[in-house]
Amino acid sequence: MSHNNHKGGAAIYVITAVFLAILTYIEFGLIQYKWLGDGNPATILTIVALSIVKFIAVISIFMHLKDDNKTLFGFFAAGLVFAFAIFVAMSFLFTVNSTKNRIAAPTTDNLSSHESSNHNILVEEAGFRFPAGPKNQAYVIERPFESTKDYSFSLDSSNSSVSSPSNSQDSVALESFDWQELGQKTFNSCSSCHQATGTGIPGAFPPLNKNAALKYNSDREYLLKAVTFGLTGEIDVDGNSYNSAMPAWGYLSDEEIAAVLNYVLSSWDNPNTVVNFEAYSPNDVNSIRALNLSSDDTLKQRP
């Protein structure tokens, strides 16, 4: 081969490899040991710069693009430019404009008011169902609580023990389990789908208003199961059918699950519908956990 693209010896490859290894170690150190300090914006810039350098080193030296035919470089550069363009286009996916005409223009006061049910609107983009709203706020949903729980409990049967320590600590609190505030706070993570007033969204998310109370009346344990283990498959609520998935919320604490359901059952029209309401206790949740159901099981046991 008389190509000029491998004129040098192997030394250049060795040097490049050592160089790449060092850069990777620097990236690691910046993140793991916070060399530039915690939360320093210089960290992100350095890491992006280092990755670009690595990227270029591999392309130009290992892939010989540095000395190879420029046509090849042209193709590759075009691919990169397109990839970048796709990326930029996608980042506009959830901005105000792309969803504007589906949003019933909310005013500032109904945005903050508890009564507003139209500030969350379902957007179906790219096949995903996603609650979205104006100004990005409604759908940039933050992690509502710091839960230190292990997520794995629904996968293995020894799990019921995961939650018992928190219960024994709270044995005093158990008698006077104060769920009102916790329930309302926890419901923030439900309202994106089921809406702030429990109306749901027809065809996508079933209502909790009335519906939850009716389910409670037929089977007190069902609501606990649906929230702890999730629910998938076709269900019928008041003549409307829903065929979607409710995520499993088992990683919430026993207190949070009990509190949120108590909140639901004592809100909106539910108090008028529910019969013999007896608030859930964290212990009720704990005994449901031990059943270790799947979201399909929940469907089968739905009243």
Partner: protein, 195 residues
């Protein structure tokens, strides 16, 4: 062994190589959209587990390192084949196959660990976009490993020709590409999470 004597075309670019670059350009767009999807959905999962709960930076750094070093062995394999040092070529290619397999092993470990922690494809947006992106990359690595195994076997059953050299060149381009995609994923998916 001048390539022009086998000349496929006057432009001096060999057809397989040209085709590979065109494929890589399109693959760039493919990964561009998968990474874009991941970033667009980042931080929008309604339920856990979340990336910070799962990612293990030391472990992923090791697998990144392994993949980078496989790229180095790959370029050495091509270098030795061009120098007609068949034994060294075989050794280097074997190294790439082993390193590639180690990388895949890490990925299998990572996926099963994440799944055990409750992250499935359906659990949340993070799960879907993460598994699709890194899974697609993993499949690329697996294809590369199989391809190199076939080239290694070829070197045992018949003498390597200059045509094989072009094929190795093309396989190497593919392999390095898979490596640079991982360079981006390592930064954009893993490291960014902990800044």
């Amino acid at each position: 062994m001048s390539m022009t004597s086998h000349g496929y075309r006057s432009s001096n670019i060999k057809d397989p190589k040209l085709l590979m670059w065109i494929f890589l350009a399109s693959d760039c767009m493919f990964f561009g959209s998968l990474i874009g999807t991941y970033l667009v959905y980042r931080g929008r999962s309604l339920v856990g587990p979340y990336p910070q709960d799962l990612f293990d930076i030391p472990l992923t750094t090791i697998s990144t390192f392994v993949l980078l070093m496989s790229s180095f062995l790959m370029v050495m394999a091509l270098y030795y084949l061009r120098k007609n040092k068949i034994q060294s070529f075989r050794l280097a290619t074997f190294g790439v196959i082993i390193f590639g397999s180690i990388f895949l092993g890490f990925q299998v470990f990572e996926f099963s660990h994440f799944a055990h922690e409750g992250l499935t494809l359906q659990q949340n947006l993070f799960g879907s976009s993460f598994y699709v992106l890194t899974g697609t990359h993993g499949i690329h690595v697996a294809i590369g490993v199989l391809w190199l195994i076939s080239l290694l076997i070829t070197s045992y059953i018949r003498p390597m020709t200059s045509k094989d050299e072009v094929y190795l060149d093309v396989a190497a381009l593919y392999w390095h590409f898979v490596d640079i995609v991982w360079i981006v994923i390592f930064t954009v998916v893993y490291l960014i999470e902990f800044i």
